[in-house]
Symmetry: C2
Subunit: 300 residues, 2 copies
DNA sequence: TATCTACCATGAATATTATGAATTATACTA
DNA sequence: TAGTATAATTCATAATATTCATGGTAGATA
């Protein structure tokens, strides 16, 4: 079994994407090259590495064993590479950083300016989307900032800071719908990230069962900025992280509907694969991110 | 830094031998190939991996970092390779087993017949020498059985069994030298593995200080079998593990000089690099070896 | 069922990379 | 200073990886 890093890389990419064509794209070679590489590797391993389960590509038992080894091997080599550079006074490497759309576009890019300046050798790429877990798991992203609670094998989670939420609406809307108490929202159009209304969970959870409104009219909007704008237009009440609407509160274009209500808070976490947690550039970025305080966010 | 396993292997071999020519021999390629490989690797790492300290080759800082990574990487890959084979019902791989000369040649080879039969896929190579630690550390040996106490970074030690020693001499010799008590050995020719007489340490340590003989006449012989044969020829008194001379005692060609004396015992240990301890073939062999009881050795 | 479409496998040609033989360079030794 | 052991070079060649062009297959679509 004369192993070979190129073949292992090809195998690893296929294993992560479960798609030869996509793996080839990721490696900047042709699909044929990947196919050849994996075939040769399988031959020298003496066993097929991929099989087909219901039309889909899937790792065989041997494939799974090799995949684990590849993870360890590549992370180990990456670590060594970085250390060698670091020992010579250079920090290097790329961090593919993921975050939710609103947080990323409005705050993260601004706040990270300092980190990027401090670490000129480290390149940071951004991906702002709602789906963050899968890209993290198959190495499309290295580091992810999310307020959702993920659990997965080999994933490391670091708490960052707390965000609190606010119920928002325009002045006119409130007047028109006569909103006084939480129950009143039952008869209002409600803006939510999801049709089921789970998005409002933190709000509902903060209320005694008797006072919980039952939403009749939910409008789905898959971006927080869209919810904010819709609320300003008087299309409904929204529920968003407070840091997103500080300006609007100040400009009085939006109202914090229940300012006295103590809402359950969500925690922002940084997620990364355990194997990557040892990377210096990851540790540096994490250290930087940990200094983010909600206050600073509000100032930003 | 486009790494490559061949280059890493070349580098690793050079790092272990600190000699390009020797590394080449080990990899079954020419010195030129190794030189090329390491040079290319160094270029892509952006730093020299070896430097010369007083004419001797030595790892640079970057080299040391890479060496650590290589260790992890190669052991990881080897483990994967073995697991893949094992998952398909085959046990494979080679174990380079080291032991002291006398123990290895007389007992180990016999006793391991069972293991070799049970594990047809696993190949065992033997190296019986006195110097076992260094070959173990630079991977010339995978597993070493030794009664000496070694301590080194990243080395794992498993106790096997105890051996006890005996002072031996021929009947004629004892008569001629009138040996009755330990002190009498001071005026006898003494057979030892080392000129300094440290070999007899366990014997001397078993005696109260007052009864300790001071050897005047030490003959160095670097094989236990040689000591035994010399003792039989009447060239001196020897000090050897009891299991080596059971036959001679029975045939009355040698005498157990102080049978009543409770000699300090030495423990036999199996040593292996920590990284290799996870290998299945290692675990199997260790399990087999642990079943060795002194009694069985005597029967063998 | 015929026809797409999105995949992956294969074979031959080509580009790239590793290796070996021979030689030169270097450093230590006597 | 020559002698020895070792590493670096150079250049030709062998081995390997990659591409290009093509064929095959399974699932989806009409």
């Amino acid at each position: 079994m004369a192993l070979n890093l190129n073949q292992l890389k090809a195998f690893f990419a296929v294993a992560q994407t479960l798609n030869y064509t996509e793996a080839a794209r990721r490696l900047y070679v042709t699909q044929s090259a990947v196919s050849h590489a994996v075939a040769t590797l399988a031959k020298s391993a003496g066993d097929d590495l991929f099989g087909k389960a219901g039309g889909r590509l899937a790792l065989t038992g041997s494939g799974k064993i090799l995949y684990k080894a590849c993870e360890a091997v590549f992370y180990e080599l990456e670590r060594a590479e970085e250390q060698i550079a670091a020992a010579r006074g250079r920090n290097t490497g790329t961090i593919k950083l993921g975050a939710t759309v609103e947080f990323g576009t409005t705050l993260l890019v601004k706040y990270l300016k300092g980190f990027i300046k401090k670490n000129p050798g480290v390149h940071v790429d951004f991906q702002f989307r709602h789906e963050l877990l899968r890209p993290l798991l198959n190495d499309e992203l290295d580091l992810v900032i999310d307020c959702r609670n993920h659990k997965a094998e080999g994933l490391e989670k670091t708490p960052l800071f707390r965000e609190d939420y606010a119920v928002i609406a325009s002045r006119e809307f409130l007047r028109a719908h006569k909103v006084r108490r939480p129950q009143d929202l039952g008869r209002c159009p409600v803006l939510s990230m999801d049709k089921a209304g789970a998005w409002w969970g933190n709000f509902l959870g903060a209320l005694p069962a008797a006072e919980r409104p039952e939403f009749k009219n939910i409008t789905e909007l898959n971006h927080i900025r869209a919810i904010i704008n819709a609320a300003m237009e008087g299309l409904g009440v929204g529920f968003v992280p407070r840091y997103c609407v500080l300006k609007e509160f100040k400009a009085r274009t939006l109202v914090n509907v229940f300012p006295q209500l103590k809402l359950l808070e969500d925690n922002f976490y940084v997620y990364q694969k355990t194997g990557k947690a040892g990377l210096e550039r990851h540790r540096n970025l994490l250290g930087y991110l940990k200094n983010i305080k909600t206050a600073q966010l509000e100032r930003a």
